[in-house]
Every structure is written in C-alpha cells, then in structure tokens.
C-alpha cells in the first residue's frame, strides 16, 4: 500500500495515482480464497488510458475524464465546478437534498464511526482514500471556503484545501468509489450521511459539468429515455423477447403462460428491470407463471421506458431521475391500473416507491409497491401447492440495500424462504445491517478499463466474505448452493464476481433470484426449474 495519504494530496499537481493497492493489503478472505496467492492479480490500466484520461486517484479509472489540453481549459473546468458547487447549496437547484446535505456539511465531528461501517474501507485494508470522511472532508472544506466564503477563521475552524483541476479530477473518480449503500449513515451518531456526499458530488458533475460514466448516462438513462430501455430494446423487441420467454417457460414447466401487454384497468402493472429479460429470462418467466397461477389480474406496459424499471438517475442525476419516474407513472395512469408492482430490482424499488413519492402529485400518484409482499401472500396463501423438498439445498439470502436498509422490506422474502427452502441460512450481518453486493450505484454495469477488478477486489470483497462464511459447512463441489439475490443489479455483480473467483466451477455456488426458487418448489410444475447451469 502507498503511504498514508493526506487530504492535501488530492490537490497534488502530478497525475500519479494517490494510492496503489496490492492484494496483500486487502482484507483477508476465508476458505477457499484464504491466502494472497489464491487471489487474482489486478489488470493494469492501459498506457493509452493513462495518457488520455485523468487517472490520478488509484489503480483504476471509472469515469474516463479526458485530460484538459491547456491550463485555460483546466481553469474553465474548475470554474464550472465552482458554479456547480454553489448550485448544490441552492434551493432552486437542489431542493430535494439541500437539508440533509447542509446538515452533513456542518455537523460531522470526524468520529470515524462511519469508517467502521464501510465495506469498501474495510475491504481495502483501511486505505485512507476510501474512508467515508475523506471525500466528505474535501467537499466540506470547499463548501466553507467557496460557498460560505470563509476566511482565515473559517479555515482554522473547518480546515482548508487547495482547489485546482487535479483535485476536481480526483474528486470525480472518488465520487465513484462509493456504493451509496448508506451503511455509514446508518451508523453515524449525528446522522451525517457520507453516502449522500458521494451522491451529491455525482450530481454536481453530471448536472453542471456533463460528466458521468458512459454506462449510466449515455448507455443508461439517455438510452432508456430515447429507446425505452437501457438494454436498447424498443417496445417491439421487448414483446418479441417476452413471447419467446413465455414459450420457453411453458415448455419447461408444463404450464401455459402468456404475458399480458397493455391491459387497460389491470389490477397490477408489473415493471421488470429489462436486464432480466435479456440476461436472466427465467426471472420474468417465473413471475409470469406465478402471477398466472395465482390468478392475479396483471399486465406489462409497452410504453416508452415503462417496460424497464431501472432509473439510473437515482445514482447521479435528479433531472434524469425525475424524467424516468414520470414515464413510469404516466404509463400506469394511461393504462388505468390500480397499482404498480416493481419486480426484482432494488434501485427501482427505492426510486419509484420511496424517492419519487415526493415528486408524483395528483393523478400521477398511483400506488406503488414491491413485488415481495404480493409474492409472500401468494406463497403463504395456499392457492398454489409447493413441495419444499425440491428446494432442499443450501440457500442464503442477499439483502439488496435499496429494498432493505433504504426501504424496510425485510421479512417477506424471509417468510418465503423459510416456507420453501429447508436449508435456508442467513448471512451475518443481514437485514438492515447487510453489506452491499459491491455492485451498487451503477458499479455492476460499469465495466470500462479495469474497473471490474476494483469492484471484485474491493467493493465486493466484504459480500464475498459473507457468502463464503454462509456456506462454510458445505463449500465442497458435491453440494450445489444457491445465493438468492432478489435484485438484478446485485445479480450482475454476483455473476461477474463468482465467475472471476471460479466459485461455480470449484464450489458449486450458483446465484439467482427469489421467484426462481418459488417456481422450483411448485408442486404442479415439472421438477428442475433451477437448472444448475452457469449463466
């Protein structure tokens, strides 16, 4: 590890990374990954990226900010940053988060309780730049100096820092070294929120400077608003794909299903993360089967953006967030449905059910809920017969932060698993004290440069430790194990991380959603819905 980084190092004019991480520095993992030699070597950033982009923070580069060519260009960028900084603390521009942001800026005591809660800081071997207060302290000093126009007394009271382009460039990258899981905020005795700091910084860079990772902006929210889905599927393609899924699932289960589209006045408008349709078709297929067998009057919508529950704006941009939330609500209104039900997507849950609650007014305020209570009531309701013996293999549950810590949906999924999975075991800690999968806030879809190496080694490491400990009594390949992750984003992270560490081949750890487990245990369905094949 590099020597201890001081706060003022972020203003260092050279472009050299502040830290370099070695596997030996990282938090140790349990069996079968115990020992540095069992870990993978990190891929290095290419010389081309290093020469063209600002990579002055650590060993990776998430945002690919082009290096300014002249001093004037640097100064212009700093000036834009300062304009954005002012707007962050202005109610016209940031009414949605002004109060919690002010409180966080003005009342942190620096007690470092947040650091003990942060999985990234812990997994990195307590590397200073990943300390939750490191990022916040930079913003705090800039706030007191440039927004509050503090002088010498303020510098004495709040600290000072030199603002220049290298600092801004490093801060942009640093805003994307936090999963926004807000576990730090949960532990803060004052109630300060360093996750919010990362969120607000991302907003400043996107909304003022037009800087955001390509995966979540151009290929994410922009594509969704243009085509209908970040997957690139338009309405026609999505309908075709779902028809294919219906056919496949009908064949596999022996039960005929047809996903209904655009049904006026339906009880339920189901919105999936469209990534499921592309990457894990058995998930929307399982939903269709369960809802059909339960007799729910449901539909999907083919309106623009309404067949994709994702709302990446949640992670980086309030305007994009509002636009997508509005599209979802408008689709429901146009169909005259009674309620919107969100499928297995954590951030979509929080976006539409929680955050958008204070944006959607009048006839757009259509009731919105998680699929989990509905699924729990179906499973425990007795209308569908289950054979829990079909799920007699070790199952553990990952709690997506957005559904659990940030929304309070904790028990329904557990009630289902207790009913249907005889070998269900919890991770520790779990529920509202869970750890992020490491792919939260967009990381799971950010695969540029060597960023995946960082998210496997650092942001996903704590969760990996939890998974291995949950299955420590049955790690051998003779026992197939199921990591239940009822969130598309988390599944993406698990797919990549489990594959990276070869845990399917060597230890037979498979990941999947919750509805797949439910269908697998349905007595009237052909056995073997879960195929125990890597995908």
């Amino acid at each position: 590890m590099s020597g201890r980084v001081r706060l003022r190092d972020v203003s260092r004019p050279d472009r050299e990374p502040l830290v370099h991480l070695e596997n030996a520095d990282l938090m140790a993992l349990p069996d079968p990954l115990d020992g540095v030699e069992k870990d993978h070597a990190w891929a290095s950033l290419s010389e081309q990226v290093k020469s063209k982009c600002e990579c002055g923070l650590d060993d990776t580069c998430a945002v690919n900010i082009p290096k300014p060519k002249t001093r004037e260009e640097e100064e212009q960028l700093v000036a834009r940053f300062l304009t954005g900084l002012d707007k962050l603390f202005d109610k016209q521009n940031n009414w949605g988060f002004l109060q919690p942001l002010l409180l966080t800026m003005e009342h942190c005591t620096g007690c470092q309780t947040c650091a003990k809660a942060c999985h990234i800081f812990e997994a990195s071997g307590e590397n200073e730049i990943y300390r939750p207060t490191f990022r916040a302290e930079i913003l705090r000093r800039l706030y007191f100096k440039h927004v509050k126009h503090g002088g010498l007394l303020s510098a004495w009271q709040h600290g000072s820092i030199q603002l220049n382009w290298p600092l801004v460039a490093r801060l942009i990258e640093l805003a994307y070294r936090c999963n926004l899981c807000r576990r730090c905020a949960q532990s803060c005795p004052i109630g300060c929120d360093n996750g919010l700091v990362a969120h607000e910084l991302r907003k400043l860079f996107s909304q003022e400077m037009g800087i955001a990772p390509r995966e979540i902006h151009e290929n994410g929210s922009m594509l969704q608003l243009k085509v209908g889905s970040s997957t690139g599927m338009n309405a026609e393609i999505v309908k075709d794909n779902v028809a294919f899924i219906d056919e496949d699932i009908s064949e596999r289960t022996g039960i005929e299903i047809h996903t209904p589209w655009d049904v006026q006045g339906a009880d339920v408008l189901l919105i999936h993360n469209a990534g499921e349709i592309m990457a894990w078709p058995e998930n929307p297929g399982a939903f269709a089967l369960i809802l059909t067998m339960a007799g729910v009057n449901w539909t999907m919508s083919s309106e623009l953006a309404a067949y994709d529950a994702i709302n990446y704006g949640l992670w980086y941009d309030d305007a994009q967030f509002s636009r997508v939330a509005l599209k979802h609500a408008e689709a429901a209104k146009n169909l005259g449905v009674k309620r919107i039900v969100i499928g297995e997507c954590g951030h979509a849950h929080k976006a539409l059910c929680v955050i958008a609650d204070r944006m959607l007014a009048g006839d757009l305020n259509i009731p919105r809920e998680s699929y989990l209570p509905l699924l729990r009531d179906i499973v425990l309701g007795g209308k569908i017969k289950f054979d829990r013996g079909r799920n007699d293999f070790p199952v553990t549950l990952h709690d997506p932060c957005n559904m659990v810590r940030l929304m309070g949906v904790v028990e329904p999924q557990r009630e289902i698993l207790r009913a249907l999975s005889p070998q269900f075991r919890e991770m520790e800690p779990h529920g509202v004290n869970n750890y992020c999968c490491g792919g939260g806030s967009g990381f799971a879809i950010m695969s540029g440069n060597n960023f995946p190496d960082w998210r496997f080694h650092v942001s996903g490491r704590k969760k990996l430790e939890q998974i291995l400990r949950a299955f420590e009594d049955c790690l051998g390949p003779e026992t197939p194990k199921y990591l239940c992750a009822p969130c598309s984003n988390c599944k993406g992270q698990f797919r990549d991380m489990i594959s990276y560490y070869d845990l399917w081949q060597k230890n037979r750890i498979l990941y999947g959603g919750l509805v797949e487990l439910v269908v697998n245990a349905m007595a009237d369905v052909k056995p073997g819905f879960i195929e125990w094949e890597w995908r």
């Binding site: 109610k91 009342h107 005795p189 037009g210």
Partner: protein, 339 residues
C-alpha cells in the same frame, strides 16, 4: 457562619472580607460583575445562536424521502428488525402507524447512552460517554440552580435549610459533571492526537474546542473547591446572578472558569458542536421521515412549491434555463433526444 452539609461545605452567610484575600482567593466587585455579564451574554448568544441554527435548517425546502431503517416509530414488531409499511400489500389502504413510545425510547437511549457510538464505535464511546454525561450533569446543576434562584428559593428571606440542601446537591452534581467533562475531553484529545484515523479530519479548531472545555471546567471545579473562606456559595452566587449583586464575593479562578464556560456556551451554536440541534433534523426530519404523499396533506403544498423551482444547471441534457421549472424539465425529454 459556615454550615456542614454532607461532604461539602456550603457557605450560607456572606461575611466575606472583600479584598482581604487578594489575587487567587477572591476579588472585589469587578470580577463578580464581569462574571455576571459573561454569564448573561453567554446565555443570550447561546440561545440566539441555537435559534438561528434552527431557523437555517427549518426553512430549507421539503426534501425527497431519504429514510434509513429501522424506524423506531413503526409497529414495535417491525421496528425490532427494521421493517416498514412497505412490507404489506396495498399499504396505502392502511393507516400509517406512529409509535411515539418507540421513538421516545430510542431517543432516550441515544441521547443519554449514545447508543450508536456504543454499538458501532466502542473505543470512542467510553470517552464520549464520560464527556456527554458530564455535560448533562452540569446542565442539570445549572438548570436546578437557575430555577431555584428564579423561584426565590435562594433569596435571603427564603429557607436557609432548603437553600443549603439544594446548594449541596448542585455542588455535588456540578463538580461531578465538570470532572467527567474534563476526563472525557482529555481522553478524546489523546485519541484525536494519537490515532492516525483522525488525522485527515482533525482541524485546529477541534483541538482548541477540547482544550476550551478542559480549561473552562477545570477552572470552574478547582476554583470552587479551593475557594477561600468567605467566598460565596453556589446558592449565594446564583442569587447574586439573578439580582446582579456585585457584593457577592467569588474567587478569581472560579470567576475565570465561569467566564470561559460562558464564552464556550456562546461559541458552541456557531460550530459543529451544535449537533444537539442538527440531530433533531438528521434523525427526525431525514432518517425517520417516512411520511407518505397523500392527497390533502401539507406535504402536497410543499411539493408543489418545490416542483415550481427553476434550476439553472448548465449541462446540456438538463435543459435548464432558469425559466423552466423542475416539473417542466421532468415532463420533457433531454434536448439531445428531442433533436
């Protein structure tokens, strides 16, 4: 005549020989007057600073929901594991539970025993708990004295016995509080100076603040305990503060301690140490705010105000020009897509 009340001597009669014990023992009226002025000024500035800070936060717009579970005002069954009303189908058809008792109990545990710190940062909890316990004891002592003084219990014509008993309680509580504050602050100072984890977030003012507490309360406690014969008791001093009686004799050290403590009180609201105010907002107004957007609620008015704000963000995809509202921007596609 001095009376003995328990372990501590409380001076009832004020037969002090002003000027007979110059320097550190006790002083003539100037020090007394300066102390009174400092106390009044400190109190006024403290209250004004607190009100200003409340005003700053209270006037910010209604924020978007940003709660963190568990919420203590949920049903006790759900609050125990962090569940919410989102765990039931069609939650909007059911009334929202407000378990005020649960909320109150969590607040008490957090305020008195610093539960979060104990749970998540045990090493820091010990010094912080000592420090905060000391503050609470000193606040109790000051509050008790102020109430008694204002109610006339300490008046010359009041009951000497009651004044004496009250005085001894105040002294015990106050001195214990000061000792705890100084001990806690010293331990916090050691921790902050020696633990590299604090290096990047420690400012000069953080060290100064702890030294300020140590100095003020060391002087108050030592000044009172080492006061000379004839110096005013707590009861007499409190009575003197209320009536601005410059004839009351106090020791220089005690007086200096009180002046410092008053300055400290005036300073606190203008620093991050005013987290006793912030905490109301961060916990009640942010972490625990799960109020639903239901028609006819005051929330709707605040939402309408917010959506009418006109942003000026410069990035092209926002399409903000300072004339279009958030509602209009949300209802339109990014300009790049329109083209």
């Amino acid at each position: 005549m001095p009376e003995t009340c328990g372990l501590l001597r409380v001076e009832i009669a004020n037969e002090g020989n002003a000027g007979a014990f110059p320097g550190l023992l006790f002083t003539k009226g100037t020090m007394t007057a300066a102390t009174y002025i400092a106390i009044y000024a400190g109190l006024v500035l403290f209250l004004a600073g607190c009100l200003w800070r409340v005003w700053v936060y209270a006037r910010t717009p209604l924020h978007l929901r940003w709660e963190l579970y568990p919420l203590p005002h949920e049903h006790p069954y759900r609050a125990a594991y962090g569940g919410s009303y989102f765990e039931t189908q069609e939650w909007w058809r059911k009334p929202q539970i407000k378990n005020r008792r649960g909320e109150f109990l969590v607040m008490i545990e957090e305020i008195l025993f610093l539960k979060s710190l104990r749970e998540f940062n045990r090493k820091l909890w010990v010094p912080s708990f000592l420090f905060h316990s000391g503050l609470y004891l000193v606040i109790c002592a000051v509050g008790l004295t102020a109430v008694a003084a204002l109610a006339g219990v300490l008046a010359e014509k009041g009951s000497a016995v009651v004044a004496s008993e009250l005085g001894s309680v105040v002294v015990v509580v106050g001195i214990a509080g000061a000792v705890l504050i100084v001990t806690g602050a010293c331990l916090l100072l050691i921790r902050r100076s020696s633990d590299p984890a604090f290096k990047n977030s420690t400012k000069a003012a953080d060290i100064f603040n702890l030294l300020f507490f140590i100095a003020a309360f060391s002087l108050v406690a030592s000044g009172y305990l080492t006061r000379a014969a004839g110096a005013a008791s707590v009861s007499e001093f409190a009575h003197g503060v209320v009536h601005f009686d410059r004839g009351v004799k106090i020791g220089t050290v005690f007086g200096a301690g009180l002046i410092l403590a008053s300055a400290l009180a005036a300073y606190i609201p203008f620093t991050h140490m005013a987290h006793f105010i912030a905490k109301y907002f961060t916990w009640h107004a942010v972490r625990w705010d799960d109020r639903r957007n239901e028609p006819g609620r005051p929330l709707n008015t605040a939402m309408a105000t917010n959506l009418a704000y006109k942003p000026t963000w410069s990035a092209g995809h926002i399409g903000a020009d300072g004339k279009r509202s958030w509602a209009e921007i949300a209802a339109s596609a990014p300009p790049e897509i329109k083209k």
